[in-house]
Symmetry: none
Subunit: 209 residues, 4 copies
Amino acid sequence: MEFNDKQIQIIETAETLFAERGFDGTSVRDIADVAGINVAMISYYFGSKEKLMEALFELRVGSVKSRVETLIKDESLTPLEKINMLIDEHIDRVMQKQCFHKIMLGVHVTNKNPAILKAANNVKIRAAEVVSEMIKDGQKKGIFKKKIDVVLMINTMVGTVSQSMISQEYYREFNKQQDMPDEEFQVLLKRRLSIHIKILFKAILTNES
Amino acid sequence: MEFNDKQIQIIETAETLFAERGFDGTSVRDIADVAGINVAMISYYFGSKEKLMEALFELRVGSVKSRVETLIKDESLTPLEKINMLIDEHIDRVMQKQCFHKIMLGVHVTNKNPAILKAANNVKIRAAEVVSEMIKDGQKKGIFKKKIDVVLMINTMVGTVSQSMISQEYYREFNKQQDMPDEEFQVLLKRRLSIHIKILFKAILTNES
Amino acid sequence: MEFNDKQIQIIETAETLFAERGFDGTSVRDIADVAGINVAMISYYFGSKEKLMEALFELRVGSVKSRVETLIKDESLTPLEKINMLIDEHIDRVMQKQCFHKIMLGVHVTNKNPAILKAANNVKIRAAEVVSEMIKDGQKKGIFKKKIDVVLMINTMVGTVSQSMISQEYYREFNKQQDMPDEEFQVLLKRRLSIHIKILFKAILTNES
Amino acid sequence: MEFNDKQIQIIETAETLFAERGFDGTSVRDIADVAGINVAMISYYFGSKEKLMEALFELRVGSVKSRVETLIKDESLTPLEKINMLIDEHIDRVMQKQCFHKIMLGVHVTNKNPAILKAANNVKIRAAEVVSEMIKDGQKKGIFKKKIDVVLMINTMVGTVSQSMISQEYYREFNKQQDMPDEEFQVLLKRRLSIHIKILFKAILTNES
DNA sequence: CATGAATGAGTCTTCATTCAT
DNA sequence: AATGAATGAAGACTCATTCAT
């Protein structure tokens, strides 16, 4: 489905507010006011607040799915390189669309928005299958360990990045980096996360230790 | 602050519902209905819905703070043993009070409930300081590496456990364990998490690899 | 089901307004304003606008059902006397609660308020069965004709009374009775209707002509 | 006023929907959707929803008025024949345009659409005058009784037909004719109504009993 | 001539809270 | 100490209509 400029503007406004205040904590009037449009337009363009949420999901997730599929087929990369790319791409994706990933976290916590929850789970399951195949490939080639809990591994990656995102203020505080410009801090955090998770994954995947 | 039986009953009902439907998605009437009490009692006992949330936080967090403090002072344990106990206790705490930790996740995501957010951050900062001291102790003794990013390390622990909790259905599905009795599954997951995170921490902390 | 004073006040206000403006043409705010109560009270007492309508139906119809049942069992009356009582009671009922019967007319025209439509039809079907039994009794006794279309007969009674009620202004106009006090006119109209319908029924039921 | 094809298509769609759901229960968007046209066209062609209703009335009533006038002047018919023709034509008219007559019933019940109500009353008053003249003619010729309440008589005809139309499902049910093809049933009902009302009128008008 | 986009007013309902008892 | 009744504010959504194109 394609969205026009006005629709995207509304979706992105909603994205920010949903992230700040939660889905139920954001009224359609709030969204309309911030977006500078009429309240009725939300129903007009999306049908309902719920459908607006689904549109947001579609807009953000749509492009991701195919990426994972192409990555696995790339024969020029070793299994470990693929995993490392997966890590970096995940970090980039989350840190670039922090609002969206905050919302997704909320969706997974509560049982509301069942349509989205289901769609998100489908994405996640497919991703896990892909990773699983990568790992099996690495195991065949003797690079990876025999016993690996794929889901816990993914949970560590996803959990660490999410946790770092939602508590970045506290990260700055603890490391006395409150005065660092935001952009610089984001770059720093992403690099640290990348190194950190790669170390973790190496420990899980390889026989080196 | 002490809570009487009726108050605790209300708080625990609210805990379940807040976890299932989110704070804004739960009405005080929902809580009153499920708890089998009068709607007015919530305002009567707690003053407001917001204050009820704060009471929930106080009830659940109160006991934790002191535990961390006593752990660090225990001289009969090595730094690594302390860290490992921290891991197991965290896993137990989260898995035993899943509802509460789901709610806390929501609190950290949105900027609502600022009073709680602040209080929760204080708890977390203190915990990080304590862990930091443990690590410094280990570094002095030559057991731990020199360069350790404490916050990222904690984020990995907290993030992995949270992520595993909120997506446990999906864990069962992927590992074909849908028919396992819930209690058995909880035990299994906790053990796996414990081993998993300890491996990760060893990789971060020690020079072995 | 019993209604308290406030509920009855709301129901009767709604009755007037539904009759004047139709169900969809009346907003709950209209009702609340005229009844001098808060808008929220309608939901509070009845659950919804629809349920308020059902309450109105229950209040008005509840007492009628039993009356028809007792009438048929009265052995001191001849079949014709029973029919005549039915006519007079129907006229009285409609003319005394004109608003309600206007609303019922609307309910039968549109397919909205399906719950009420069904309930109303049940009442009507039962009434027709009762009348049918009365007539069969009269036929056995040789007083009534053999071939009688009960439904058309009832339609004539109900239709004539309804039509006379909704066009009474026009009746006054045509007969130059605009200045007659309303109460006097009601009495007059009821008497005329009674005589008129009894003549019609005699023509349908008996062999005299 | 003349209507073009598109206007007539809109009017007839509105007619069906108004009959099914009532005037207020039908939105202009409903009409536009069913008619397969743009919403704005209704305002464009008729000015407003209200005016569309008036157009519907004009389209349906326009042709009727003259018919009544010509009937009375026809000297080749006896007064009773004229009355009988009036009955049959009324039955045909109502049963052929049931939707429209359902709507008219609603218009007479509520005080909405005052313009239409007034116009409809004018038609009805003129009709009553015509009938009145027919009766006077019959009285002069000694065929009809001296004392006849013309309005009640018309109310019986109109009321019986209306009532039979709006409750025809129930007629079928009571007479176990649910499986009869609709067209066949319409013919049957019209014939029964014709005979039924003529019997009634004979009882009112003539001295035979 | 016809329409897609847009809107302000209005719809019903639910909310957390208060208050007299 | 506890509660049933009540309410103003706000919730999401639909309405008939307008207007630029």
